[in-house]
Structures are given as structure tokens and as C-alpha cells.
Amino acid sequence: MSVLADIISATIVFAVPLLLVAMGGMFSERSGIINIALEGIMIMGALMGCLMLRWLNNAVAAGQMAAQLGVLIATLFAGVCGIAFSVLLAFASINLKADQTIGGTALNMLAPALAIVLTWVVQGQGQTTILIPDWSRITPATFGLKEGSKFFGSPVVPQDAVTLKVQNDFLQNLFFKQTYLTTLLAVLLFAAGVILLYKTKFGLRLMACGEHPQAAASVGINVFKMRWAGVLISGFLGGVGGLAFTLAAGSGFQSSVAGYGFLALAVMIFGNWKPWSILGASIFFALFKVIGAYASSIPFMPQFKGLEGVSTYLYPMLPYIITMILLILTSKKSRAPKAEGIPYDKGMR
């Protein structure tokens, strides 16, 4: 049972960054800008969010007072830094009409290098890992539950924050093993994103700019503004998603988000540029990722005795192979925004 709880909670915690970042990509591409820089944006968001957490921990000692408020501040800071980084993409691809893929690739190269350099500057030579303070996780203590008090009928078990010892209580494993504020924020952001895209004037206009910008312009929509908005929204979501990933990965920030930005792009394509499908796709991918990670403790998974590197290389291959197969199977239904990747030119009708 506790393995099941582990799998569910791990799936949720890994689905969150995918969902957020894929939603970000969706906003950008729906406005007509291919955002291949999501990986870079995630790295910048994660870097800045972690630095903020570190600062809150060292300078303000936020851990003792208002831990979750600290996480909220760090998350918002990550989002704002994501926006700042995505300005580079927006400026190049919207105003200068540069090639969007090349601009995005450049930003993807820039982000990890910049992250390493900044980490060195902050932490000193050769210190490449930014540790995440223990208090950023939501635990029973967050809700004022003390050791020994009841949670859904069973006594609260003390949890070792560092080693995450396996506990035998299903519900507590499910809710408190790896829950972060970002999970709750992701739900809110997702709901807000759906409403923004489908139920507001802004969202409909944004989508029009990705389908036929000239037609949109002819009814008085400012295409440049809409595309800027699309890219900046994706910057915010990408930044928050980056921090969410680093929290989920748990081992601190090492100037990388392990290709999640690209995986999020695949999730977005598999989700057909629609929020609800993206939600389904991200949970699906996270599940496979987690099954890969937990394969050795799941009874019915083949263990491949005698092979080396099964848990480090064989099972982690799974999500990528599944992605490939699914992309092929669903390719017939795939429908990208028509004008994505094409710089907007007023003169062209």
C-alpha cells in the first residue's frame, strides 16, 4: 500500500512541473510564437527561486516563522524571473522577427551556463549545488498537527525530512511525503489558465493571433501586444514550473532541469495545444516516469537480474519511448496553431 501511495504522490509532484510548463508553452504557441526556450526559462526560474529560498533561510530565517509564505515568495520570484528571461525571446522573435527556434536554442544554451556562473558567484568557487531548505515541504506541522495528534483517525507519525523514510500510513504518505505549495498553486494556475484562454476576450484574441494574425489585426487586435503577452505568460509558468521541478527532484538545484522543458514541449504537442488534454498528458508522462523510478519496488515489474544499470538507465528510458510511440499514434489528430513560427508581418495578407 505504501508503494501505491508513493507512486501516486510522486506522480502528482512530477506532473506539476510538466503541466505548468506545457501550459506555458501552450500560451506562447497559441499566440504564434514557438517557445523552444522553455528549458532555459525553467532553469532560470529554478535558479532564482532556489536562491530566494536560500536567502530566506539564511538571512530571514523564514523556516521558523512562516515557511509556506517563504515558499510562496520564492515561487512568485521564480515566475517573475521566468518572465524577465522570456523577454529576450519575445524581443528577438516579435520585434526583430528573428528565427524563433534559433533564438530559443540560444536561450537554452545561455540559461544553464548563466546558472552555473551565478551559483559560483553566490556560493563560492566550485559550489554547484544550491540546497533547498527542509522547511519548504508541506508536513503535518504545517497544519499545526503535532506528533501524536490524529490525522483522519490515525496518529501523526514523525517524518524525517531528509531521508523521507517510508511510513506505513497510506494517507499520510499520500499527503505529506512530498507535497509542496507549488502543487496547490499549479491547480489554481491551471484553472486560471483554462478560464483565461477560453472564457475571456483576451484568450480568444490570443488564439486568433496564433491562427491568422492578419485577420486578427484587421478587426483591431494588436498582434504584437498579444504575442508579447503569450510569451510572457509562458515565461511566468515556465519559471514557476522550473522551481516546482527542482522541489520535486529533491536533491537541490544543479543548474539543470534534466530535459523537462523539452518533455513539456512533447506533452504540449501530445496534449494537442489544449489545456485539458495537456493535464491528462502530463499526468500520464509523470506516471511513466515514476513507474520507471520505482520499478524495483513494484512486485510485477520485471527486474532483469544480472543486468547492470537497470534502474538508472533502462527504466528511465521508458517515458521517452512511450512519448515517441504516442506521438506517432496521435499524429493524425495533431493540430498545431496555424501561424506559429511565422513572424507577424503587417504587410502580408
Binding site: 514557438i34 544554451m109 499524429s331
Partner: protein, 401 residues
């Protein structure tokens, strides 16, 4: 002034701005060390012969991955999977060398074929199912890297692990393949006395092989019907289909050629006998540096030679930044250069206006810019050939000749 010259000038300006940015960053981090270290970085590559040998040694695989990306760009595809193709190529070269005991040239051919196979899949999926090749090749990067790791750790012959050093010498090392020096010295790319000349084991004939391949690729792209067809598909798939070109076949073929280049690069790097394949947890950066090489060269195969030499040069220089600065400073400089070259068209327009040599040329360029950008109303927009602009101006240049 010729368009080709303007292209070169635009690249040079991007490089200068990138270097300036790097200098400013160094100043911001540690102002007292910035100038001496920056100077050291700029001159490290020619400071002594072994360093120069290292520049040339790293330039050879860089030329190949650069050619891989550039070739795909020319045909309207974005091969971000050079890293995976490079890794798979490297593995097959080492497998043929260590286990099958083949001579070096056969190992290189194996690397070439392996890279082509790894490029074949993204191409096939693009042609048949219209799956975006960027996503596919990223997935294949990871699949390739992990598969190679698994094979290196597990390949057995008669119950003995064959890829690891343990097959030849008693050694506890398990995360690295066997050294070619004792596994199969025949498979080391000949040094032809160059190692004595440069006083470094890094030096061999691989740089010349890479240059020859670049020249061949230039001829194929610019002087053959086959190359013309490939480029035509890149400009406008629908139009070329209408003209009787088999676009699907060409997509697959150009991804295969592109992959083969990257695979060959992997062979050139690991068959030098100085490096053995380390079991990786991250994708090898050589493939991604190939993107920088191709973009800086504006996808011109000949240009790739020079841009690979440049990037290899400042990377070797970057090592002299350590330990005061992180060597990733170099990656920042390269990224800035690529970012600037993304709007190369704009730079070129400004340049040609600034130089004002030929008025008709200037008008041409500024009119051509929006037209190229919005040219084909494509079904799949990602196809938008990243190098439409530069490629076009080269076409014109060829006509002028």
C-alpha cells in the same frame, strides 16, 4: 561588396559583441582578475603547440556535428538530435574497435552508419507521420545515451564484460570503456607524425578528414541535382512535391546524412586514443555545440570549418579561466553570439545599408527579408527553415558568379 562578405562580417560582429559581453561579465564577477584572465583565454589556444593540438583535435568532431546540424538546416529540418547520433556513433566505433577488432577506417564507417540509423528514425517519423523532428530527436538523444550506457555496462562475450577495461587489464573501473592503446591499437586514427610535430598525443589526421567531408558536403549541396532537390524541399515542401521531387524520401535521406555526420564525429573523437567513453548521466554537449557551429556558419559547410575552429579555440581558452571563473563563461559567450546571429538578417540589412556599396543590393535585401520570412504558407509551421534568409542570399551569390 558581396553578400558572402556581408555574411562573414555579420558573424564577426556577433562574435565581437559576444566577447565584449563575456568581458563585462568577468568584470562584474571579479574585476581584478578579469583582464588578465580574459587575455589568457584569448591567447591560450596558440600559446603552446599542445594547446593548439587540442584545439584542432576538438575542432574535428565539432566540424562534423556542425555539418550535421547545418545540413539539416539547409534542407529545412532542425536536427537537435546530433548529440544522440554522436553518442551512438561513438559507441559503434568503439564496439568495432574493442570487440570486433577492426582497423580505424572500418570503425569510422561503422560510426557513420550508426549515426545515419539514429537519424533515420526522426526523419522517418517526420516523413510518414508528420511528427515534429525537434521533439523526436530530443527523445532519441536520451534513448541513445541511455542505451549506449546500458550496452557499455552489460555487453558480454563468453561471460566476460567486453567493453570495460576489465576485459584487458585488471581494473576496477566500471564507468569507462577500455583504452584503445591496449585494447586495439590498430583502431587509433593514424597520427602521421603530427603528434611529434605538435608534441601532443591529441594531434592526428582527424581534422583533415573533417575538412574533406565538409568540402564533399558543400559540393553535394551546391553542385549536384540531389543537393538541389534536398534544398528545394527545405524551401517549400509543397512546391517541390509539385515539381516531381519525392519530398518524403528526401526528408528521410537528409536526416540520415545529417545523423551520419554526427556519428562520424563521435568516431573521430573517441578513436583518437586519448579519450575513452565515460558513462554519462547527461547528454554529451558536443552535439549541442554543433548547433552553435552551424548557426555561426550560417549553415554553410565551408563556414562550419571556421566556426568550429573558433568555438574549439575559445573552449580551450575557457579552461584557462578556471579556477577563478567557471569555464561555463565560454558557453555564455557562445550563447550570446548565437542569440545575436538569430537576427542575422537584420544585422546584414543594417550592414549593407551602412556600407552602401550597391544600392540595388540594399533594396533587394530589405524587400527579400519579409518575403522570405512569410514565404511558404506551410501546413506544419515548425518547418519554417531556420536558415531561409542566409541560404537564400547564398543562392543569389552563386548566381552572380
Amino acid at each position: 561588396m558581396k553578400k558572402g562578405m556581408i555574411s562573414v562580417l555579420a558573424s564577426v560582429i556577433s562574435i565581437l559583441i559576444g566577447l565584449l559581453f563575456g568581458l563585462l561579465l568577468l568584470l562584474a564577477v571579479n574585476s581584478s582578475q578579469a583582464f588578465p584572465k580574459f587575455g589568457e583565454m584569448l591567447t591560450a589556444g596558440v600559446s603552446e603547440m599542445p594547446k593548439l593540438a587540442k584545439v584542432l583535435y576538438q575542432a574535428a568532431p565539432l566540424i562534423m556535428t556542425g555539418l550535421a546540424v547545418a545540413f539539416a538546416f539547409k534542407t529545412g529540418l532542425f536536427n537537435i538530435g546530433a548529440s544522440g547520433q554522436y553518442t551512438v556513433g561513438a559507441f559503434c566505433a568503439l564496439f568495432c574497435a574493442i570487440v570486433l577488432r577492426m582497423p580505424w577506417w572500418a570503425c569510422l564507417i561503422a560510426a557513420f552508419i550508426a549515426g545515419a540509423i539514429w537519424g533515420f528514425f526522426p526523419g522517418l517519423f517526420k516523413a510518414l507521420f508528420n511528427v515534429n523532428e525537434v521533439i523526436t530527436s530530443i527523445m532519441f538523444n536520451w534513448i541513445g545515451m541511455m542505451a549506449v550506457n546500458l550496452l557499455c555496462m552489460n555487453l558480454k562475450q563468453g561471460g566476460k564484460l567486453v567493453m570495460l577495461p576489465i576485459a584487458w587489464v585488471p581494473s576496477p573501473i566500471k564507468d569507462r570503456t577500455a583504452d584503445l592503446s591496449y585494447a586495439n591499437a590498430e583502431a587509433i586514427i593514424p597520427r602521421a607524425g603530427l603528434d611529434k610535430l605538435f608534441n601532443s598525443n591529441y594531434m592526428n589526421i582527424s581534422i583533415f578528414l573533417a575538412i574533406v567531408v565538409a568540402l564533399i558536403l558543400w559540393v553535394v549541396l551546391n553542385r549536384t541535382t540531389f543537393g538541389y532537390e534536398l534544398k528545394a524541399c527545405g524551401f517549400n515542401k509543397n512546391a517541390s512535391t509539385y515539381a516531381g521531387i519525392n519530398a518524403k524520401r528526401n526528408i528521410v535521406l537528409s536526416m540520415m546524412i545529417s545523423g551520419a555526420m554526427a556519428g562520424l564525429g563521435g568516431g573521430l573523437y573517441y578513436l583518437a586514443g586519448t579519450a575513452s567513453y565515460n558513462i554519462q548521466k547527461v547528454l554529451l554537449p558536443m552535439g549541442f555545440n554543433g548547433i552553435s557551429v552551424a548557426l555561426l556558419a550560417m549553415s554553410n559547410p565551408i563556414g562550419c570549418i571556421f566556426s568550429a575552429l573558433f568555438i574549439s579555440y575559445i573552449q580551450v581558452g575557457g579552461e584557462s579561466l578556471q579556477p577563478v571563473f567557471a569555464k561555463e563563461m565560454i558557453d555564455i559567450i557562445i550563447a550570446v553570439i548565437i542569440y545575436l546571429s538569430a537576427f542575422a538578417l537584420l544585422t546584414k540589412t543594417i550592414l549593407s545599408k551602412f556600407i552602401r556599396t550597391d544600392k540595388s543590393n540594399v533594396n533587394d535585401e530589405s524587400k527579400a527579408a519579409p518575403a522570405t520570412a512569410a514565404e511558404p504558407p506551410k501546413a506544419v509551421p515548425e518547418e519554417a527553415a531556420p536558415t531561409d534568409g542566409p541560404a537564400k542570399s547564398e543562392e543569389k551569390e552563386d548566381e552572380e558568379k
